[in-house]
Amino acid sequence: MTATARESNARFFFRYILHHKQAYGWGIVFIFLTNWLAVSIPLYLGESIDLLSSDALGQQQEALMRSIGAVVLFALLMVVTRTVSRVLFFNPGRSIERELKDDAFAKLTRMQPAFYREHETGTLISIVNNDINGVRALAGIVMLQVFNILFALSLTPLKMYQISPSLTLYCIFPVLITFAIAHKGIAFMRRMMRLRMVELQEMSSTTVGFLSGIEVIKSNRIQGWAERAFDRENDKILDRSLRLTLVRTVVLPIIAYTDRLLKVLILAVGGAYLIQAQLTLGDLTALLSYAALLAMPFISLGMVFSAWQTGIVSLESMRRILDQPEHHRDKVHLPPEKREGLFSHHLRVEDLSYTYPGSDTPALSNISFEIKPGQMVGVLGKVGSGKTTLVNCLNSYLEVAPGSIFIDGVDITTLSRQDLRSAVRTITQDPFLFSDTVTENIQFGADELADPLPLEQALHQSDMLDEVRQFPEQESTLVGEKGILLSGGQKQRLSLCRGLYTPCKLMVLDNVLSAVDNETERFLLDQIFNHSRSVATLIISHRATVLEKVDTILVLNAGRIVARGSHAQLLQSSEEYRHTWRLQQHDNGVVA
């Protein structure tokens, strides 16, 4: 986000405003009508008071009725114009809120891991949920009030000036003074509100952290610690709120007293004029009504300023998401037929090295291998050997250097991630399930994919059918947040089911059987090896037994391929492989 390239807040905001220019346009017309009616009414009020105070009241009943009739008619018209104008401004405000939320969400779905390392989930949620309110106010009430104030502040003084120019000038001074005081107060308030919003976001993040780890907190009985940490954030918010309250209750009400202050002034000065016969009582009454009309925009102005400031702060906050640059590679997509044809020859890794940002030791060094349609390749390695890093490079979850991975000869860094992932499907070892039905979770992301399995068969292939049958509502059973009520093994199998549901090209299984028991593992491996509808499979595991049947095994150690070959070849050639395999055989084979 460089200063030069960055769109100004105003431009950014008006881009959204322009989507609704018609509503706003009519809104402006109606807000003008409302203001015009509002300044006309006191004139008729004054006229009727003059008629009342005249000695010939009895003869002027008809004129009096006309004035009163005008007041009532204008008042009724104003009800309509005011309602319409408010709706015309508020509804686009709500629509813009929606558009911004959708845009922010869309952006978030495309953000890469680096972004999520820098931004905590709680903070992001708070931005989308809380900061949006400020922007919505900006697009709704602030827009309305800007025009309302504009018209009120031009029409009211004009009418007052027509009655008494000097009294109008007298009235301007106190209005300006109270406005200056209030402006200072609002500037302070704005600063406090911005800080408060940040503090609220921090508290959200802390809370999300604690709620995610609720079981650990409870089982270790450190609720006290969590409460103290929470209280610290809570107290910070209280402190901020108190300062805000002070300004709100002592400084800002000065604005609300402006109209009564004006009335005192009008009575004193206007009273003197009246006694000198420069004004009539009707004029004075009209002026008293104008006092309220003149003060009101200033009351609103205070509100508008604070809403404006909050809105800008919120907008800045929203833009932390919305302005995130997207990788240029993701903007260009392959035509459908090319996308379909991906992985018709091979996926080749050439001398791939990867070092995590901020680390000085490479996680992967000089990895080269190839996988062709129809092949099954296994990767064996212990914890920290770089297995998952390799997977994340293949699916571009991590950004690799150009010239390291090719699909059908095309460098994957030139493909959009979406295209690449249409060919490379990853089933991770830490599956994520939504708080939704079993069916929805299995069909996740498969909306546009062809040829799904019958749900039952997919469940059978992942050894979930019997268990799902036991669920209270079978496939329509909701699984808890992150599938909390499912065991780790069930989650892995459901995630495997998700992977098997539609055919795919290269299926990458990242240690997905780590939490299932041996019997289930055997069944699932059979399904993967013999009944999978993937064109090729890359299976990653830390257990040699899982990989015995694949065509080629790559043995990964400290980010390097230390041996490769079939199970039989490796038993001959690799000391490490033999060692690992023996250890695990020992595990399974004590009985024999």
């Binding site: 959200s204 409870k218 690992t580």
Partner: protein, 606 residues
């Protein structure tokens, strides 16, 4: 598998709207003001002052018009105008003190409520978290309380005072001229009727909007937590579509409320002006009959807005009050949910029984049956076994056989079992969860790490927390080696649930944490599953330590672990189908032997 009733219901059909205010909820809320009653009393005592000033103002205006302006009497005009100004200043000061003392008290109370709610959430049983997405709980603690706080700052309290002022002003006007006031009073019911209709609709839409908002937040939170899954499955467009249904639902509900809100605001304003016309029309007759003065008439017109403004503000404040009440209803969910404190402290243990719980002696399951949901399938159907101090039990069986459930019952994660579970001879349901927790530590396959230092994540600030104790625990599980290599070693701060460590390292930390708890009984739940074989060896050695001096109940997948156990319980479909040592069970050539055979006959070393 307990479906989230709230989410499901709200998703398909509109939630039935609660028409009446729940006074119990409000009363509890007001209870939180008790510690700040000094401020509250100060604030309330200023209300009469405010009211008197509010009446003096129009009275002085009438006086000035009738005594100075109409008779063209310039003498005394300045004096009375100064008095009027003084009244204004007094009114301002009284209002400021009133508002600050009450609003700050409200801020304190909200702080206390938030702390109290969070503390309750921390003590909720697992069931609550099963059925409530995290985003919903977060909304309760943040947005809902914000709505209440906003409602206070936007003048909920001044509104109460304004209503009193309206009544006082009406009384004053009645006193001055009752006929003219009656004209005003005729309009009263009309305003009331319009407000009532619109207010009810407003409340409807606000409640609906909040439900949709909360669902949207929950979904957003889930998508962000599962962002990797979303992206790897190319499901960006699909989740965007789904999220848009929530934002659109929210927009629709809010747009509807915009109409009611705007109409309410404008209608009241219109009525104010129409009444001015009516007063002049009626006043003209009275003036002809010389029963009222012009000053009174102008005074009436100028006071009108002071009577109707509170009603108008009332309607504009209505929005935030609606939100506050909707928020009250939501917050109530947190208060309605029973915490584990309450459910377990009901039966107190006698002193003798507490003595019995000094150290672990035995655990006895007798015909234990359990299901997660009242009408769900039985997960345990009559399980009996006994774990004595120092012995080791292995639970074996396929996934879903009920192994994990047994551990969940032991940690009191779930409580409504049938049959009997006795800890040192005392029924488990009678022992407070905290007490039970001292005996057991869980080594789980699911790891959660705080965004704090490694030392904290292992020691968790428990009483014995000191660096050596933490290091000992790390050494115990052979985690010290990699920790020493990290920048800052034990002070290395973890991020994103240990995202800056490898999965195996994270597991070792969690393992060390379990050791550090110093519990006498270790519950092992597939803790060795996703650790590679070399690390597995290390952990195996650590488990050997554990097996030497602790009591163990393990969900085991590795034969070596199973073999170390004194007794093996083979579970299938919630029933113990076989039990015994490895030797006797193999000899039996039954279910277990079959299971082991399958383990053994794995892929042939070709």
């Amino acid at each position: 598998m307990r479906p989230s009733a709230v989410a499901e219901e709200a998703g398909t059909k509109p939630t039935p709207v609660r028409q009446k205010i729940h006074w119990g909820v409000v009363r509890r809320f007001l209870g939180h003001f008790r510690p700040y009653r000094g401020q509250v009393i100060l604030g309330l005592s200023l209300i009469p002052v405010s009211v008197i000033f509010a009446i003096l103002f129009p009275w002085l205006i009438m006086r000035i018009i009738d005594n100075q302006l109409v008779p063209m009497q310039s003498e005394g005009l300045l004096f009375w105008c100064l008095v009027l100004a003084a009244v204004l200043v007094g009114n301002f000061l009284a209002d400021a003190v009133f508002n600050y003392s009450l609003q700050s008290a409200a801020q304190y109370a909200i702080r206390d409520i938030r702390a109290e709610m969070f503390s309750r959430v921390l003590h909720f049983p697992r069931r609550y978290f099963d059925k409530t997405p995290m985003g919903v709980t977060l909304t309760r603690l943040t947005s809902d309380l914000e709505a209440i706080s906003e409602s206070f700052t936007q003048g909920l309290l001044s509104m109460i005072r304004d209503v009193l002022i309206t009544i006082a002003l009406l009384a004053f006007l009645l006193f001055i001229n009752w006929k003219l006031t009656l004209v005003l009073l005729l309009i009263g019911p009309l305003i009331y009727y319009i407000t009532e209709i619109l207010r009810r609709r407003l409340r409807d839409t606000y409640l609906r909007a909040r439900v949709v908002l909360s669902q949207g937040t929950g979904y957003l939170q889930e998508c962000l937590s599962g962002i990797k899954t979303v992206q790897l499955y190319n499901a960006e467009a699909a989740v965007q579509k789904r999220y848009a249904t929530y934002t659109e639902g929210f927009r629709k509900a809010q747009s509807e409320s915009n109409l009611y809100d705007s109409a309410l605001y404008s209608i009241i304003e219109g009525i104010t002006t129409v009444s001015m016309g009516l007063i002049i029309w009626y006043g003209s007759k009275e003036i002809l009959a010389a029963t009222i003065s012009l000053g009174v008439l102008v005074g009436f017109i100028n006071t009108l807005d002071k009577i109707f403004v509170p009603i108008r503000d009332f309607t504009s404040q209505m929005a935030s009050i609606q939100r506050a009440f909707a928020a009250f209803d939501h917050i109530e969910e947190i208060y309605e949910e029973a915490t584990e404190h309450e459910s377990s402290d009901r039966q107190h243990l006698s002193a003798a029984e507490r003595g019995q719980l000094d150290r672990f002696q035995s655990l006895e399951f007798e015909d234990v049956r359990f299901r997660y949901k009242a009408d769900g399938p039985w997960v345990l159907q009559g399980v009996s076994f006994c774990l004595n101090r120092g012995s080791k039990i292995a639970l074996v069986g396929s996934t879903g056989s009920g192994k994990s459930t047994i551990l969940r019952l032991l940690t009191k994660t779930y409580v409504n079992y049938e049959g009997s579970i006795k800890l040192n001879g005392i029924e488990l349901s009678r022992i407070p969860k905290a007490e039970v927790g001292k005996f057991f530590s869980l080594m789980q396959q699911e790891v959660f790490l705080f965004n704090e230092s490694i030392a904290f994540n292992i020691g968790l600030e428990r009483e014995a927390s000191n660096p050596n104790f933490v290091k000992d625990a790390a050494r115990y599980v052979y985690a010290d080696e990699f920790i020493e290599r990290l920048p800052g070693k034990y002070d290395f701060v973890l991020q994103g649930n240990g995202g800056n460590l490898s999965a195996g390292q994270g597991q070792l930390i969690a393992f060390a944490r379990a050791i550090a708890s110093g519990s006498e009984v270790v519950m092992l739940d597939e803790a060795t599953s996703s650790v590679d074989s070399v690390t597995e060896q290390l952990i195996q050695k650590a488990i050997d330590h554990v097996f030497e001096d602790k009591t163990v109940i393990a969900i085991a997948h590795r034969l070596s672990t199973i073999q170390h156990s004194d007794e093996i319980l083979v579970l299938d479909g919630g029933v113990i189908v076989e039990r015994g040592t490895h030797g006797t069970l193999m000899a039996k050539a039954g279910f277990y032997a079959n299971l082991v055979q399958k383990l053994d006959s794995g892929p042939d070393p070709a």
